[in-house]
């Protein structure tokens, strides 16, 4: 019962924060002014979603990385569940990054897709990396083997991210977004938008983690942080 109350409270706060930020963006935050022609850039407001979602994608990727390393060192199943949760959420969030990025591209350069924007290309490669993670997990038989393969892939993929970023920057960069200086009110909105997005991201990770634990037959208490407060499993297997 406790867990349900806490969960409701958490998501209500997240939803309210989200609504609050939406209101802020719509009613209060000024538009960015295009330095070239003095006209407001409407689609620029996508930044307030794009950036927090992108940062949280990295957060989720880091969770996946940590879970993988933890499993390889420790071989306790909750590490593996954490890694899987991180990867799933990172794919969801990365899809958000791609979609907001494409909307931005449409607004700024009137194309849905281009290979000439390193940021877009990078987001796509990142998305590919973690989608493959999920497919690999579902293709390997045996939960221990799956955990090991997932851990190694998650580790290597994470180490790959900076290289992916650097190589994406090598590509021709025709559509560089116009440099916009953010006014204080815009910076405030940006900071504010991190709150609901991060809450949603962390909440999703925890939900996924809990789902995996329950599927294994482990019980997860209301305030259980991954790895703490474990109760004996129902199946009697190794925890």
């Amino acid at each position: 019962m406790n867990r349900k109350i806490l969960s409701c409270a958490y998501w209500t706060v997240a939803a309210l924060a989200f609504a609050g930020v939406m209101g802020l963006i719509y009613f209060w935050t000024p538009f960015a002014i295009d330095p070239n022609d003095g006209k407001p850039i409407i689609f620029q407001k996508i930044l307030y979603f794009h950036l927090p979602v992108a940062i949280n994608t990295f957060l989720a990727c880091t969770v996946c990385f940590a879970g993988g390393i933890g499993y390889l060192v420790n071989r306790q199943t909750w590490w593996d569940d954490l890694a899987a949760a991180g990867a799933k959420v990172s794919v969801v969030l990365c899809t958000g990054v791609l979609l907001t990025g494409m909307l931005w591209a449409k607004g700024a350069w009137n194309v849905w897709w281009t290979w000439y924007s390193p940021r877009l290309t990078f987001s796509f490669m990142l998305w590919l990396l973690y989608v493959v993670y999920l497919i690999v997990r579902s293709s390997v038989e045996g939960s221990q083997r799956r955990a090991v393969v997932g851990a190694v892939y998650g580790l290597i993929a994470f180490l790959d991210i900076p290289l992916v970023y650097l190589s994406a920057r090598l590509l021709p960069d025709q559509f560089h977004p116009a440099d916009i200086t953010l006014s204080p009110s815009m910076k405030l909105t940006l900071a504010a938008s991190f709150v609901p997005i991060t809450m949603i991201a962390l909440g999703l990770v925890f939900l996924q983690y809990r789902l995996h634990r329950v599927q294994r037959g482990e019980v997860v208490g209301p305030l259980t942080l991954p790895g703490l407060g474990m109760r004996p499993s129902l199946t009697g297997g190794a925890a």
């Binding site: 045996g142 939960s143 221990q144 199946t235 009697g236 297997g237 190794a238």
Partner: protein, 262 residues
């Protein structure tokens, strides 16, 4: 006499003594679970030098898994294992020089000849004169004239003999054999029995997992019976007879059939 005994350590040097005096196998609380199935539960073993042990049990009792753990091929999920005084968890690489394993599978490369296979493994084990040692073993096992034929042309019995040669290349002090007689014809079986007895006579410690209870009790000094991952019998071979061992294995099977959760 006593004086000579106490002088011994200083002659041999401390490291030597530790090694020579170390028990080949000391295991405590070994457990192994694979995919949430408990294969081995809480096995304690203490095997002194030069002992010939028969490891018996029904299919699925955990014999192969135990041998794989003792050979450092797999790690246990729980418990400690010391081989020749060295912890298996800490420095498995060092221990492997002293262990030979004959498994179900021959662990040989089909496209290479018997000689090439043995020379390859001999080099990995750091043996001086790999070719000479390989030839020596092949001759001992009666395969000298087939040394250069690819292993894929060998019968099961001959391939098994090459596998035995592979296990003996580095003169291991502990020999583990996992049902080596499976699929062997009568001459190869007799050869292998003779070989095991001879190796035992040379002071090697041998653990033989086998299905043939009578054969095992004949060859070995001690019999250990596993049932569903637990050690149920651990006693001198001549105090047992095949009937008793079979009965205990059948009891374990009956327990399982009753749906008893261990």
């Amino acid at each position: 006499m006593t004086l000579a005994m106490t002088q011994l350590p200083s002659i041999l040097g401390p490291a030597m003594t530790a090694d020579a005096a170390a028990i080949p196998v000391r295991a405590s609380g070994l457990s192994k679970s694979i995919e949430s199935r408990d294969i081995l539960r809480d096995i304690d073993l203490e095997i002194p030098h030069g002992r010939f042990i028969a490891l018996l049990g029904a299919n699925g009792a955990g014999k192969s898994t135990l041998l794989k753990i003792l050979s450092t091929l797999n790690a246990p999920t729980a418990g400690t294992l010391d081989l020749f005084g060295i912890s298996a968890a800490a420095s498995a690489v060092k221990i492997r020089r002293h262990i030979g394993l004959i498994g179900h599978q021959t662990m040989l490369y089909h496209d290479l000849s018997a000689m090439e296979n043995l020379v390859f493994f001999a080099k990995l084990y750091g043996i001086a004169d790999p070719a000479g040692r390989a030839m020596e073993l092949l001759t001992q096992l009666g395969l000298a004239n087939r040394a250069n034929d690819p292993v894929k042309a060998f019968s099961r019995g001959m391939a098994q003999r090459v596998a035995i040669a592979r296990a003996l290349l580095h003169e291991p002090r502990l020999l583990l054999a996992d049902e080596p007689f499976a699929g062997l014809d009568a001459p190869s079986t007799a050869l292998l029995e003779r070989l095991l007895t001879e190796l035992h006579g040379q002071g090697k410690t041998i653990i033989l997992a086998n299905h043939d209870i009578a054969q095992s009790l004949r060859l070995a000094q001690t019999a250990i019976v596993l049932a569903k991952g637990r050690k149920v019998i651990d006693t001198h071979a001549d105090q047992l007879d095949a009937g008793a061992v079979l009965a205990s294995m059948e009891n374990a099977a009956a327990d399982a059939a009753d749906g008893g959760v261990a």
